[in-house]
């Protein structure tokens, strides 16, 4: 499993985030400009294609930061 820095790089490119907004492990998803269910779908697709891990709508609702998402994907991948 890649480290969180690499993970944030992938997420930044998948979200197509403008360069003036920097994601950190503590960033809350919902603070991302125009956060919507589209971002949720992008996370689900990324977890599946990049890591072979399933993230559900419930998982997303229970998380708030990038670190939490990374931890969940990592723990599911290692299962």
């Amino acid at each position: 499993m890649i480290d969180i820095k690499e993970f944030i790089k992938i997420l930044t490119s998948e979200f197509d985030i403008e360069s003036d907004f920097i994601l950190t492990p503590d960033t809350s998803f919902r603070s991302i400009k125009d956060w919507s269910s589209m971002h949720g779908l992008i996370i689900i697709a990324m977890a599946d294609s990049e890591f072979g891990v399933t993230i559900t709508g419930n998982d997303l609702r229970q998380m708030s930061t990038i670190q939490e998402l990374y931890n969940l994907i990592k723990s599911r991948k290692e299962q």
């Binding site: 919507s36 779908l41 599946d48 559900t56």
Partner: protein
């Protein structure tokens, strides 16, 4: 999963009809400009067609069938089976297929029936009509597949309204001793029946005064229990998991692979979902046509509509080998493979 084949039938023509009015997600009022950009990029739907109140799904089917029958030079007396696959029927009862039998002027000896399925409907419809025709008791059949979906979406629900579009199609099928077989792999998971649902108006929850009340389900998302409700995350996970699995199983059963087919046509669900499926089974981009940008998610019509819209010239002039996958509401899914050989395919018909 159910794997089986049907013999002795061949597709002779496919026609599609859409309402004339085109609407664009760039004009959708319940999203900001940057949200619209994100939505169009992610789900891939830019424009779609919307049926006015006086047009029913069966009207689109009727117009497409008129043109197709005439271009095929079929004698109506020989059309002895008509199947209408839709979740947007004319009436609660009778079956819409019966009304279409009369409108089209088919003989009273014709068989006509409805099938109530959505996104998987084209695959299921083909399996039923081909099974019946292959029995040898029928000569020519019409498979009418389509939906008017926007009428049941609430304009103030940004999780459904920007996604769907209206369209219907007709596929003409004939008995043919020497035809290549159709192979199928079909499945169902009713445990997730409420992932895409119109909760009121049927017998489980009769329509009542409350059925018309708009409720704010999530901030800024309004709908009534007579509107379509969609659990996008659940459908997304189902599709990217179950569809590649059933295709890989299909490859194994048929001893085939990506290279065995000229085109892989999927239900046009949403671009991110479809692209995730495409990459998982390794089909090249060039082999996977899309109409999401032009017509949106057109439910059961999306597969034949995409074939007509994107591959018409090939259909008319060449033999084409298809792999098809329909998946969604039910939950229900199906894979089918077949070939067409220089079939009749009128340009997309616009209905006012």
């Amino acid at each position: 999963m159910a794997f089986f084949s049907t013999l002795h039938t061949t597709i002779k023509g496919i026609a599609a009809a859409v309402p004339k009015e085109e609407i664009s997600n760039w004009d959708y009022e319940h999203l900001s400009e940057s949200e619209r950009k994100m939505l169009i990029k992610t789900i891939g739907v830019e424009k779609k067609r919307r049926a006015p109140k006086h047009i029913a799904t069966s009207d689109l089917c009727f117009e497409a069938a008129k043109v197709l029958i005439s271009d095929l030079k079929w004698d109506k007396k020989e059309i002895d089976i008509l199947i209408f696959v839709s979740q947007s029927k004319d009436y609660f009862l009778p079956s819409t297929a019966c009304i279409l039998q009369d409108r089209l002027g088919l003989e009273k000896s014709a068989v006509a029936l409805d099938i109530g399925l959505g996104c998987s409907g084209y695959v299921y419809g083909l399996s039923v009509i081909n099974s019946m025709i292959s029995s040898g008791g029928f000569k020519k059949g019409l498979l009418m597949v389509g939906d008017i979906s926007l009428v049941s979406c609430n304009y103030k629900d940004k999780t459904t309204y920007p996604l769907f579009g209206d369209a219907a199609t007709v596929t003409a099928i004939e008995y043919d001793e020497n035809a290549e077989k159709f192979n199928y792999n079909l499945g169902t998971d009713g445990s997730k029946f409420d992932s895409i649902i119109i909760p009121h108006g049927g017998l489980r929850n009769h329509a009542n005064k409350e059925s018309f009340d708009e409720i704010e389900f999530l901030p800024g998302i309004f709908r009534s229990p007579l509107n379509t409700a969609l659990n996008g995350f659940e459908i997304f996970n189902f599709s990217i998991d179950e569809v590649p699995k059933s295709i890989l199983e299909f490859f194994e059963k048929t001893n085939s692979n990506n290279n065995s087919y000229d085109y892989f046509v999927m239900h046009q669900a949403n671009l991110l979902m479809n692209e995730t499926i495409r990459k998982k089974i390794g089909f090249e981009k060039e082999k996977v046509p899309y109409t999401l940008a032009k017509y949106g998610n057109t439910s059961s019509a999306s597969i034949p509509l995409t074939i007509v819209s994107e591959l018409r010239n090939k259909l008319i002039t060449e033999k084409v080998k298809f792999l098809i996958a329909g998946f969604g509401v039910g939950l229900s899914w199906g894979v089918v493979s077949f070939s067409t050989d220089k079939i009749v395919c009128p340009e997309i018909i616009e209905v006012e």
